[in-house]
């Protein structure tokens, strides 16, 4: 059985066992509910690194930063709820000076703001922007997965990433973190090739032995440019186009520094306030990049936005969230629910819960889904190496390209069960041989064992 089914049934059983304990019952009910919701992705990182900015980029709207946990979820109309110490109130979402803001009213301590916002980007996940003061334990308790922002990896970052897996269950299911090399535009001191340089550094971290076991992926992203691109106004575009129309040489001296860009003696009749605005929204690097792109022919808002989103790394980050987090919703939800069950069983142990405890331990120990995910990550990160053709097949069989039997077996049409079975048996035999070949390395054989187990799982589905 799949881990999400197993987890679901343990949850239901636990509800029955803890019927008479209001605290445990309430807790379990909330987790039953959470189980069916979209994945909750928290954006975390050191203070001021650009969490709110990146969250805005992912949403596609600029929200004024609030010093509290902000939850963004898809809704039919813009609307918010403000929570404070067990109470909550409805609150309007208003546009204020070009940004959206939640009117939190008169409460001075707000624990959490939940914003419903109609956005296609939020269709598949709930985004949680964490404040500078957020305690890691609260982030891990609220979220199913984490997008972690860092510059160059420092000790503090490693500590945070490690603590995310610092639990017997979490360790087994170390599948919920994406690292982001943030502020990619500032890498290289804002040189025009900053973003591609940042991408290379991200690639290095992806393979770094310290990072690899802790992150499903590491991508570089310039949140500032991404959010500016996705919310670009016509007047901004016109100003950028006017700038680009100046010769490169003519503009160069005025793009040397932020101070110069807003200084007097500008070669173009562009209000200093407009220039200041561009600088705030795009950053100096962003302005340079936009000018270069417009000159290269990306000379409509749509074209320019598309380029910026791609180059800023937002595209890659979104893909990564889709592949590693959204597609693995079941596993991530099961992970959160198992952690929650573990808490109940330990905080309120009782004789009737002994079977639950055993079930839970068995589920965690035998969760093949977790192993598949870790193998995918290890192969992608190059930590486990297989010959190229085997690697492609292994990835497919353990579900990296989709978890249906057709996707796993590599059919691009509706093959009959008999057809599938014959391909599958072939694969199974091949991988069984790999799994037991004493000449192969330990990593190789362990990987093969996981593939074999996936094939066996498929076989039961096809009989």
């Amino acid at each position: 059985m799949k881990i999400d089914h197993v987890t679901w049934s343990i949850l239901q059983e636990a509800l029955a066992v803890y019927r008479d304990s209001p605290r445990a019952f309430g807790w379990l009910r909330s987790h039953v509910e959470r189980f069916t919701e979209p994945v909750r992705v928290a954006v975390a990182g050191q203070p001021g690194i650009g969490k709110s900015t990146l969250a805005n980029a992912l949403i596609g709207e600029s929200f004024a930063p609030a010093p509290t946990f902000s939850w963004y979820r898809n809704g039919s109309a813009a609307h918010a709820q403000v929570f404070s110490g067990g109470r909550f109130a409805e609150a309007p979402v208003v546009r204020r000076g070009g940004r959206m803001a939640v009117d939190a009213g008169s409460w001075d301590t707000v624990d959490r703001v939940v914003v419903d916002w109609p956005s296609r980007s939020l269709r598949d996940f709930v985004l949680i922007d964490t404040p500078a003061s957020a305690a890691p334990e609260q982030i891990f308790a609220d979220a199913d997965a984490v997008v972690y922002l860092m510059r160059h990896l420092k000790d503090d970052d490693l500590q945070f990433l490690r603590s995310a897996h610092d639990h017997p269950i979490a360790r087994v299911a170390a599948v919920n973190t994406i690292g982001v090399l943030a502020r990619a535009d500032e890498i290289g001191g804002g040189r025009i090739d900053a973003l591609s340089s940042a991408k290379q550094i991200a690639r290095r971290y992806r393979r770094d032995v310290q990072v690899q076991p802790l992150c499903q992926n590491v991508v570089a992203c310039a949140g500032l440019i991404a959010v500016a691109a996705r919310t670009m106004r016509e007047d901004e575009f016109q100003a950028l186009r006017a700038l680009a129309a100046l010769g490169r040489e003519e503009l160069e001296d005025h793009l040397l520094s932020a101070d110069r860009f807003v200084g007097t003696a500008f070669p173009l009749d562009l209000d200093p306030a407009v220039r200041q605005g561009l600088l705030e929204r795009f950053g100096l690097f962003g302005v340079r990049l936009c000018c270069a792109l417009v000159r290269q022919g990306f000379d409509t808002t749509v074209k320019l936005t598309g380029q910026l989103v791609q180059r800023s790394g937002l595209g890659e980050l979104r893909d990564s969230i889709a592949i590693h987090l959204v597609e693995r919703r079941e596993v991530l939800k099961a992970r959160s629910a198992l952690l929650a069950l573990d808490v109940v069983l330990r905080m309120e142990p009782r004789p009737g819960a002994r079977k639950l405890m055993a079930d839970l331990e068995r589920a965690v120990a035998s969760a093949h889904d977790f192993r598949e995910l870790r193998l995918v990550a290890a192969l992608q990160g190059g930590r486990t190496k297989l010959p190229p053709e085997l690697e492609t097949e292994a990835m497919r069989l353990v579900g990296a390209e989709g978890t249906t039997s057709l996707a796993r077996l590599g059919f691009d049409y509706d093959a009959t069960p008999a057809e599938q079975r014959s391909v599958l048996l072939d694969a199974l035999a091949r991988w069984q041989a790999q799994a037991t070949d004493p000449h192969l390395g330990g990593d190789h054989r362990r990987a093969a064992q996981i593939v074999v187990r996936s094939c066996e799982g498929l076989l039961t589905g096809l009989i």
Partner: protein, 603 residues
């Protein structure tokens, strides 16, 4: 124009020649060479990728330090003045690594290739790069030292940087304008301030950041709040380098570098003069005292004007020379024996202290759950090891001083400066700089003798503690969070077996850490012992030579006195009087240099 201390020094050298003391003259000439060409070490430190290397390049307008987008600098680069551009890599000659005195080898490389070679050679064996380049800025003896980033999880780098901080005359702490000073940076600043108070915080990359003025303002208040009295200067290396290329003065001003250079000039180069004056004052005083002794002897002899007394003076001088030779063997034995005892006692003491700590750890984790309060425990352990190390090292220092005194007691004669001014060579860490660095504040003799050593010890200590207990899966953030949401209080944990396992893991981790600490620290103590021994031996040996020379000179003048007839004797006596007065005047000037209250030199 020559600084006043140079005139005084040259006159003292002249006096040595007049009084036929080539030994003292040589000593002063050496000092003169050092002081005329002092090394002022300005250390550039900061977290990774803040623009440290580019800052050094921009200061001297030459691309001598490797600059890159990913982590780049792995060993320090020393940049100093030379008539022609040159570069060299310094590598470990053997694999044995020690902070104190690892043998190294120096390989010259073409200056255009140095940045490439630094990144090519794999860190372990490379110790540092050295650049010589003709620059007006550097002619005052400034040495700019670019260092690897701190806090990038490669603690070995961090440790060696710390060790260098303790040798620095000034520190430029680099933090870029893309963000405010973090709590880690502020903590670092505090640590650095304790070792070298002359710190300037340089905010880089102002060209890139529209809000750099806000960042600077907020940084100022962070510093004020943390009680760190460091100056703060915003700069842009990019603008500076471009200004240099295009010769654009306005842009150069915008880069903020003129202010930074002025600050270096004012706070560092200027204070060097004070340091030089003090250093010169100390040696010149000692030398003059020695010149005075035979003169005084001659005068007293003349005063008594008894030939018999003169002859007995002569005999006395001869006797003392012989005695000096005979007793050389004795003080050397005392030194060897005492130092051997010292080293083993100090090691025993350290072992005893660490054992006590481990016993305490075991007792704690027999009961307590490491998952709770692990951070406090880490702090506790660090504090206790710190204590142990400090006490142990202080004891080593005390004992070493006691040994120095005992050797002095076994020395045939007593003299004002019989105890060494410093038991370390001017520069423990590397032979680049030669600046003898008396601290500006007055200090007691104990501090003075051992300041240099204590400095390197600080680096050792920080190094010992950088290897932290990281990697202990004990603080269970996830359980804590969920537990808090569930019950509003922290979670009570699990089965006994798990607790036991965790306790065992905690004890083992602590044991490993303490062992590690012991090995590193005791090795450095042993090295320190060897160093002290060698320095004391050199000190007393050259003292013995000088004394012998002084005694012989006294004997010679006594002999002359006996041989001279009355009129010659009067003549000589007048001369001696005059010479003595001259020396006393010179001595006063020397004392005035140091700025201290003039010590009386009885005429």
């Amino acid at each position: 124009m020559a600084p006043p201390w140079l005139d005084v020094l040259d006159e003292t050298i002249g006096a040595c020649a007049t009084h036929r003391r080539p030994d003292l003259e040589a000593r002063l000439r050496e000092k003169r060479a050092q002081q005329v060409d002092p090394k002022l070490r300005v250390l550039v430190i900061g977290e990774s990728k803040q623009g440290k290397s580019q800052l050094v390049n921009a200061l001297i307008n030459a691309p001598v330090c490797a600059v890159g987008d990913d982590i780049t600098t792995t060993v320090p680069t020393f940049v100093q003045h030379s008539e022609t551009p040159s570069a060299a890599l310094v590598r470990n000659a053997s694999s044995r690594r020690s902070i104190m005195n690892a043998p190294t080898e120096r390989v010259a490389v073409p200056i255009e290739q140095v940045t490439k070679q630094v990144s090519a050679i794999h860190s372990g064996e490379l110790v540092r790069a050295e650049i010589g380049i003709p620059r007006a800025l550097l002619t005052s003896g400034l040495v700019l030292i670019d260092t690897p980033g701190i806090g990038d999880t490669r603690s070995a780098n961090t440790a060696s940087t710390f060790a260098t901080v303790l040798q620095a005359d000034a520190v430029l702490m680099v933090s870029d304008a893309t963000g405010e000073l973090t709590s880690a940076e502020l903590a670092l600043l505090k640590k650095v301030m304790a070792a070298c108070p002359n710190v300037t915080v340089v905010i880089t990359k102002t060209d890139l950041c529209p809000q750099w003025r806000t960042v600077v303002e907020r940084n100022r208040s962070h510093l004020a709040r943390a009680g760190i009295p460091a100056k703060l200067l915003p700069v842009s290396a990019t603008l500076r380098l471009r200004a240099a290329k295009t010769g654009d003065q306005v842009l150069n001003t915008e880069s903020g570098f003129p202010d930074l250079l002025a600050c270096l000039q004012r706070d560092i180069v200027a204070s060097a003069d004070l340091l030089a004056r003090r250093a010169v004052s100390v040696v010149a005083s000692s030398v003059i005292s020695q010149l005075v002794t035979p003169l005084r002897e001659e005068l007293t002899t003349h005063d008594s004007s008894h030939t018999a007394a003169t002859i007995s003076t002569l005999q006395e001088a001869q006797r003392r020379v012989d005695e000096l030779r005979r007793r050389s063997a004795r003080w050397q034995n005392v030194l060897n024996d005492e130092m051997a005892d010292l080293v083993s006692d100090v090691e025993y003491d350290l072992r005893d202290r660490t054992r006590k700590i481990l016993r305490e750890v075991d007792k704690t984790f027999d009961e307590a759950d490491p998952a709770q309060g692990w951070e406090q425990f880490e702090q506790w352990l660090e504090d206790n090891l710190n204590d142990a190390a400090t006490t142990n090292f202080a004891w080593l220092m005390e004992r070493a001083e006691w040994v120095a005194e005992k050797v002095a007691r076994n020395f045939p004669v007593y003299r004002e400066d019989i105890l060494p001014g410093s038991i370390l060579p001017d520069d423990v860490l590397d032979p680049v700089g030669k600046l003898d660095k008396p601290k500006i504040e007055p200090f007691t003799i104990t501090q003075k003798v051992f300041t240099g050593l204590r400095g390197s010890y600080g680096g050792v200590l920080m190094f010992g503690l950088v290897t932290s207990l990281a990697g202990m899966p004990l603080i269970n953030v996830i359980s804590l969070g969920a537990g808090a949401l569930f019950g509003g209080k922290t979670i009570k944990d699990e089965s006994d077996a798990r607790l036991k396992r965790r306790q065992a893991a905690a004890k083992a981790a602590a044991q490993r850490h303490v062992d590690d600490f012991f090995i590193k620290f005791s090795k450095d103590c042993r090295d320190a012992g060897r160093y002290i021994q060698r320095s004391l031996r050199n000190h007393f040996a050259s003292l013995a030579e000088e004394m012998q020379e002084t005694l012989l000179e006294s004997a010679r003048s006594a002999k002359r006195a006996v041989q001279d007839d009355a009129s010659q004797r009067d003549q000589r006596q007048r001369e001696a009087r005059r010479e003595l007065d001259k020396l006393v005047t010179l001595y006063k000037r020397v004392q005035a240099l140091g700025g201290g209250a003039a010590m009386e030199l009885s005429a």
